[in-house]
């Protein structure tokens, strides 16, 4: 053998690790976290910390029990924990939040084989389980004291018809009721721009998602289609949840289809149903279609023959 070994591909490896990517995502989430602490008070920091710690602890416990090598240091559990915390109102009891973390890590992530093997977004399932189990606590939105006029009593999506462009600054800054991480659209967009600049995500999914939500809201005759983009969980979902590597298509064409599908479903659920889960249900549904989208948009290898 003369000491010469040929390993299988890939032969060129980038210096980027899962840990570095996840760290970038955490940095991108920080503006929204700080904004929520300013808007809803310091309890949001407690919820975020507890949720991240619970996710890491669940993953560590699972791997300890299963005698698997620990993957806690890749920080993906921290991101999941933060995203679940972002999806609950600031008044959420801590034990209920921890149940959401356990569902996300144990059932959705680790039972299917850990990071990279989950077929739906763990944070999204955690949120949905909490939403269906503790509906009262999950919709017990804290209304910030600084909110003015129309926005001081309800979430903007519920009263979209009464809002006008003079409410736009409050919507952008997030001074209104909602779950703790979704309200400040400005901070979320800032985080999204950071992710795009750092090349962690491609802007295809967020732009096609938000653009198609606008288009279909307008087509379906929704009230204030432009303003409604800055209300509810759309920004959080489009920038941080729909772009999850594992549960989104890996071809550019697929990403476009995925984003448009999410936008269509979100607009439809927002306008034709009064459920508060438009963004989460549409992302979960599209997550399930990802394998098919991947298969349909797979590029043909150079000189290859298309399969019949």
């Amino acid at each position: 053998m003369n000491g010469l070994f040929v390993s299988s591909s890939p032969h060129i490896r980038s210096a980027r690790t899962t840990q570095k990517i996840m760290l970038d995502v955490i940095i991108a989430l920080l503006p929204a976290l700080i904004a929520s602490a300013v808007i809803f008070g310091p309890r949001t920091l407690l919820l975020a910390g507890v949720s991240a710690a619970a996710c890491v602890a669940c993953e560590a416990l699972w791997e300890k029990l299963r005698k698997q090598p620990s993957t806690v240091s890749d920080l993906s559990a921290v991101v999941t924990g933060l995203l679940i915390a972002f999806n609950v109102p600031a008044s959420m009891p801590v034990w209920e939040l921890i149940i959401g973390d356990m569902v996300a890590i144990f059932i959705v992530k680790m039972l299917f084989g850990g990071l990279g093997c989950n077929f739906i977004n763990p944070a999204m399932v955690g949120r949905t389980v909490l939403f269906l189990s503790f509906t009262a606590d999950m919709t017990n939105y804290v209304i910030p004291e600084k909110a003015v006029d129309a926005l001081s009593s309800a979430t903007p999506l519920a009263i979209m018809g009464e809002l006008g462009w003079n409410d736009f600054p409050e919507l952008l800054l997030g001074i209104h009721g909602g779950v703790m991480g979704e309200t400040c659209a400005l901070a979320l967009i800032l985080g999204g721009v950071y992710l795009v600049i750092r090349r962690v995500i491609k802007p295809i999914i967020p732009i096609s998602y938000i653009g198609s939500t606008l288009l279909f809201s307008w087509l379906f005759g929704g009230e204030q289609p432009v303003l409604s983009l800055f209300a509810g969980g759309l920004m959080l979902g489009a920038i941080f949840m729909a772009t999850d590597y594992v549960t989104s298509p890996y071809t550019n064409k697929g990403k476009l289809i995925f984003g448009i599908g999410c936008g269509l479903l979100t607009a439809a659920i927002r306008i034709f149903s009064n459920s508060a889960g438009g963004v989460s249900f549409s992302i979960l549904l599209m997550n399930l279609l990802v394998p098919y989208i991947n298969g349909l948009t797979m590029p043909k290898p150079l000189g290859g023959v298309s399969e019949k």
Binding site: I107, V129, L132, S133, F134
Partner: protein, 225 residues
Amino acid sequence: MKRKFEIFKNGLFKENPVLILTLGCCSVLAISVTVLGGVGMGLALTFVLVCSNVVISLLRNIIPNKVRIPCYIVVVAAFVTLVEMITEAYMKELYDTMGVFLALIVVNCIVLGRAEMFASKNTVGDSFFDGLGMGLGYTMVITGISIVRELLGSGTLLGYRIIPEGYQLGIVTQTPGGFFCFGGAMAILIACLNKKGRKIDSKTGCGHDCSSCGLGCAGRGGESK
């Protein structure tokens, strides 16, 4: 007698109708919200299964092959009607809990599956024990799942409050929670069977005894999928 016991035990674990053969899942998901409904449904199905297995086995040489399915359904429907009338007369609460699913035992895959795959080919005694094993296997699973779902979802057991109000996981009583529990039960049973050294045929992917198995897999020439 040993063979009879083997047939009986088969239905409980190795060929559990719900968790291994995945038959009759619809009623398991729908009725396992309360323990009362789960146990009632299990016992009703066991009764129908045992009776229909015995009768169909008795008639197996008389029933013409071409019209065997309608004949099975007539036999099964007779016993289901019997159970339905008895529960409605004497156990009204249980009857209301089970609702339409009691009548739907007529088309339950387990009952028809055992009639087609076992009772029509085996002796009366064997069919009796097969029906008993399969029925109790079903009862075991639906009772287990309903205990978990009633405890976590409603915080009660047979109507008695165990977990205080306000600490329930609502999703467990809904359909997704039913699927979670179903998958969990399936994983536990298969893990236990694997631990006991169940041999899985690498060609067919199952650990069944093909002579009594209702799956009609590739190992038997793939007569049905």
